[in-house]
Amino acid sequence: MVNVEEIRDFAAGLLERGEVKSVLGFRHGSASAFAEPCTLTEADDAASLVWDPTCLNNLALYLVKDRKQQAASKTPDTRPVGIVAKGCDSRAVGVLLQENYFKREDVVVIGISCEGTGVVDPKKLSNKLKGRTASRVTFDGADGISVSVYGDETETVIPAREVLADRCLECRAAAPALNNVVFGDSVEARDYNEPFHAAKEAENVSEDERWATWEHHFDRCLRCFACRAVCPMCYCPECVVDSTTFVVTLGTSAKEKANRIRWCERSANTSESAVYHLTRAIHLAGRCIDCGECERVCPVNIPLRLLNTKLEKEAFEMFEYQAGHDIEQASLLSSFRDEDPNSFIR
């Protein structure tokens, strides 16, 4: 079992010794039972760190944010950053390292093994509680999640498999392979779903039905861009499909601005949103590490993870490629093998 005190001590130690400028972790949120991200800079604050099944966020996002801030700063603070990372989160760090976003020594990975469980899916939990809100969610043994309900403080223990996020049910690396330290046991056998279970299920539907489903989802998209904003891999300074982010520097000419391509319009209609989501999915092929954040944050519950895991599955089945597993490996998109069947450079 993960002892949260050990995490706190470790984080406090890092900060005390000045080995990191900050530690990214989870603390109790003010709004509900769900934990929220925090950035600790003082050893004394480490006591606020928590570890429970509501530690959903992939904090690697904040490594990206820090890197962007330091790049923009006149006096960058380049000391390493500590990050509390689940198995999936550590793979995100791995991809960022593969893509040279920072160096290994810039980050101290405080790995946490999800052991036999994982984190809850707020939507599944909400369905379970018939729309009511949970006020407390904790681990209960190896395969249980204990939940208290808002307005009715009795505790219920729910089998983990019923409320765990799909990605956790399909997880193959519950313990972070990339780490400076790991808390919790590395549990090999996890008797939940096979990898890519949800994606395979979705494939079993006829093409027409699949199209109808996605048309329905793209039509509902609000284009709030939370899926992109929360994704640690979506660190591009300018998103190719969207006009809400773009790079204008003093050197950007009027011509460049005038010629800026609008691959998709601002209108949140089916076709424009399809372009947005499909382009994003393609750009994440071989990069997505299935932290499921895009799907989790979607306010209208578009099952975005399916798009990404589908491509992750293809990458795995066709090229045995797993993003973020080997930081020395060339990215999927940029590597080719001599025995690849199609002529590559013609």
Binding site: A254, K257, A258
Partner: protein
């Protein structure tokens, strides 16, 4: 039914003057309303100009309200819409909504001295005030126009300046030494200090690059101008022009409606978020 405030009127470009060259060139466009559905405007007001297919941009109206036949706009090539304007030819059609925003309280300034301080394309928003003041020359005391450009070839409205000299004091400057340049060499705020206009019963109106405005205001204060005697216009990104789209606010004010003209006294009371 109410007027559709988002539906532009159709304007026609009847004249294009190339004011300055370069990457951020400035052109002045004279625009007529072929459907005789034009509008009246006041000094300092803006209009939302459209290039259909490219979008809209808020541009200050650079002609005097006394000129009824056309409206004049001086546009720097900056982005998508302005580039489209720069590619336009005489006879092309554009869209216009407006006029928007408040105005310079010219009527309140009767009998006072006027000091205009402009730099670069920042001359355009105060140009209608200068033109109107000159047209009503007897209403005002001494009128001085300070204007600075990077080089003499970057001076806007060059021909008009010649006419202006007949009735007002014109102080032109260029940033760097140039052979044969008869005027001041150096930055506008320095020229202002050099000539030191009197603050007594005077109003100073300035517009230009933000850094220039900052030093002009410092220097005006040093010359003894009170905050209420200093006027400027500000800009922010605008989409609707009518105080709804939510982006151009400085504090509680939407610049498109409450601005763009502010006295320094008013502007100081707003958050520094522009």
């Amino acid at each position: 039914m109410t007027d559709n405030i988002y539906l532009p009127k159709i304007g026609r470009i009847v004249g294009i003057d190339e004011e300055t060259q370069g990457a951020r060139a400035i052109k002045t466009f004279k625009v007529e309303f072929p459907n005789s559905d034009g509008f009246e405007h006041n000094c300092g007001q803006c209009a939302m100009l459209s290039m259909f297919g490219k979008g809209e941009s808020m541009i200050s109206i650079a002609s005097s309200p006394l000129v009824k036949e056309y409206k004049q706009f001086s546009i720097m090539k900056m982005g998508r819409v302005t580039s489209a304007f720069h590619a336009a030819r005489v006879g092309d059609f554009i869209g216009i909504r407006g006029p928007y925003g408040n105005q310079f309280p010219l009527d309140d300034w009767k009998g006072r001295d006027l000091v205009f301080i402009g730099g670069g394309v920042g001359l355009a928003p105060i140009w209608p005030v200068i033109q109107t003041a000159v047209a009503r020359r007897e209403d005002f005391g001494k009128i001085t126009v300070f204007y600075g450009a990077r080089t003499s070839s970057n001076i806007m409205y060059e021909a008009d300046f010649e006419k202006l000299k007949a009735s007002v004091e014109v102080q032109l400057s260029v940033d760097a030494p140039e052979e044969g340049w008869p005027g001041y060499t150096g930055f506008v705020p320095a020229n202002l200090m050099d000539k030191a206009p009197s603050p007594d019963n005077a109003i100073a109106i300035t517009c230009g690059p933000p850094i220039m405005i900052k030093f002009v205001i410092q220097n005006l204060q040093a010359l003894g101008f009170a905050d209420e005697q200093i006027y400027t216009t500000i800009e922010n990104k605008m989409k609707c022009g009518i105080g709804k789209c939510g982006r151009c606010n400085v504090g509680k004010d939407y610049v498109c409606v409450k601005g763009p003209v502010y006295s320094w006294a008013e502007l100081k009371s707003l958050p520094q978020e522009y």
